[in-house]
Assembly symmetry: C2
Homo-oligomer: 256 residues x 2
């Protein structure tokens, strides 16, 4: 018994065009009627299912052709006791299949990242801005990675805030450790403000711009946060605590 192309395609769950395609590439070779019509049998069905199964492993048609041809040759020479070279070479510790698995793992890692990002964007109250944040974050992560590889090949001094800034930051951090309410750290906030004034060269607009940049830190990419914290030789959460304290102090000053 044999099937016409359409019936066979439906039976196997593929399209007619897929059958044509596989035939063109030598993966399938159905008999033909006198008029040239394709006639598929159960043997073709088995072959097709092998192709579908191997494709589900992510193999290309070329690779599948090699494997299937090999199986066919294998069957023909089985009696001679020979072993198929192609299949042997595909496996083993350095085999092509191992490399292929590595590729699939890579693919899965990227897929997982994409899914995590999509989830975050969808769950956000403002998806459009969440998408923008994702884009900004992705760029920063890339630069961070690049910076790291650069750092490992071309050693350079770590980025640092100015010595006086760094010292002041540490004093404030320690003061907040002792007294989280921030009472003890108030005078230090004034000194920070003065330092800011100095760095802005006394220009009001510049100082405002600097303060504004700090105030917007909630929407900075994570990479930027980590980077700025590293300038103060601090962890991002410690840095955030100090920054929040300085924000509040600036607001109090402005209100007076």
């Amino acid at each position: 018994m044999s099937y016409a192309v359409r019936a066979f395609a439906e039976l196997a769950g593929v399209t007619v065009k897929t059958l044509h395609h596989y035939e063109r590439h030598g993966l399938l070779a159905p008999k033909r009627s006198r008029a040239g019509y394709r006639r598929y049998t159960v043997r073709d069905l088995g072959q097709l299912e092998a192709i579908i199964a191997l494709k589900s492993l992510g193999l290309s048609l070329r690779q599948i052709a090699a494997l299937v041809d090999d199986r066919a040759r294998d069957a023909r020479v089985k009696a001679s006791g020979l072993r198929s070279r192609a299949i042997k070479e595909s496996f083993g510790p350095a085999g092509a299949l191992r490399a292929h698995r590595e590729q699939l793992l890579q693919k899965r890692r990227r897929l997982d990242e994409a899914l995590a990002a999509l989830n975050a964007v969808e769950r956000d109250g403002d998806p459009a801005s969440a998408l923008r944040r994702f884009v900004a974050n992705a760029s920063w992560t890339k630069w961070e990675a690049k910076r790291k590889t650069m750092a490992s090949t071309v050693p350079r001094a770590p980025d640092r805030a100015s010595a006086s800034r760094l010292a002041l930051f540490r004093e404030i951090d320690a003061a907040l450790d002792r007294d989280p309410s921030g009472q003890a750290a108030r005078p230090l906030a004034a000194r920070w403000d003065a330092l800011l004034e100095t760095e802005a060269c006394g220009d009001r607009a510049t100082k405002a711009a600097l303060q504004n940049a700090w105030a917007n830190r909630r929407i900075w990419p994570d990479g930027v946060r980590r980077y700025v914290a590293s300038l103060y030789d601090a962890q991002p959460d410690a840095w955030e605590r100090v920054a929040a304290f300085l924000d509040a102090a600036a607001t109090r000053t402005a209100a007076r």
Copy 2:
């Protein structure tokens, strides 16, 4: 400051051909020198990084173009208070992004299956035969699924072994429950053998073929095992216990 195409490609971590490609599809529009040379600026870098980030979400260039164009239009009309329609439509409960996420999830499921199969094949002592088993298994799983959907639309009586076989199977199963060593079930094995003889119409070769098929059940696809067990209205493990007992009984008979 601006970059030539090669320098820019290296900076951004893409190929020159990719830059050409994006430009052809309207995703990038660098300035040109008098001689027609592309000149990229930081603005182009930002644009390119947005493209790369969106691509990492699995979006097509066409979709990205829509989003990016939209962002540009958005920026131009921001002052008017209008909201971008395309971005709005991409999100939300019925949004395109949700459908896209579903696609990615599907993809990941398939990837996981492929990885599991590849692991099994690699860990196997005989990878080539493991691959063959995988192919056979995949085909069976497909038919099983098909059979299920057929069953739900076209109701039909469940497949069953003959009444006498089924009854005998149950007796053996019960006997093994009471006496796992199989002593009590010996006479039943003889009756099973007789039944086999009857079904083979007394033909020795046919009987041997039937026994051989049973003996090879270790390499049957899981689906076949489940199917055959279901013929006896049994779970695969119960069925396997009875089958193993009958195997041993047949060997004892042959040895005599």
